[in-house]
Symmetry: C2
Subunit: 122 residues, 2 copies
């Protein structure tokens, strides 16, 4: 067996030159780990089929829910429950590791200009 | 809806006072995120049913495979493939975030003195 690859998350982030477009860095069973840089306001959306995990690698971001807003700092994580509307918003650039099932589209039920192609590895 | 909790991984780690005993910090669908501190040598084992993800939060660890050894530093991750024998080994204490299906036992197919109770939250 060849050795499984070691993935340096910060080296992967250094290759990301856009915002809101998650890039896959690893697969675990039917799930993907994705790095993404956030800046500005995203769109309100929900993922009807799955929870979605955000882990902040650098910077900070807020995530708005209809019932209130949370702030996530470096080293913090949150699991957005399946079906719950949310909107990430980062005043300064924030780097995040997402964990979600493969095939999860970034804008969920709200496709539009910020919808990123799924399945892009970096 | 109440807001989803923000989980500070380093605050959780500060509560961990043992080694090799993963503690659950979050659930995503049927998966758990667990913090664990490694020190010394673990046992050779495999997980017959699942891949297993290691993300290094602090320190460094090696993971031995039958075909060679990888070293993981802070900010690096690896997905150990389903069914592949491995043995973590950390010369100094290393803090890790594990991602794996709920019910995954730390020692896999090699139960013994280092087998930790499953389902413990912190």
């Amino acid at each position: 067996m060849s050795l499984p690859p070691v993935i340096n998350l910060f080296s992967k982030l250094a290759l990301v030159d856009d915002h809101w477009a998650p890039k896959i860095v690893a697969r675990m069973n039917t799930y993907h780990f994705k790095v993404v840089k956030l800046q500005g306001a995203f769109v309100w959306h929900r993922h009807a089929e799955t929870d979605e995990t955000f882990i902040v690698l650098e910077g900070s971001t807020r995530i708005e829910f209809r019932s209130g807003t949370v702030e996530l700092l470096q080293g913090e994580m949150i699991v957005v429950p399946q079906g719950v509307e949310h909107r990430p918003m980062a005043e300064a650039e924030c780097s995040v590791l997402l964990v979600e099932p493969s095939g999860t589209v970034n804008t969920g039920d709200a496709p539009g200009g910020l919808t990123a192609p799924d399945g892009v590895w970096i």
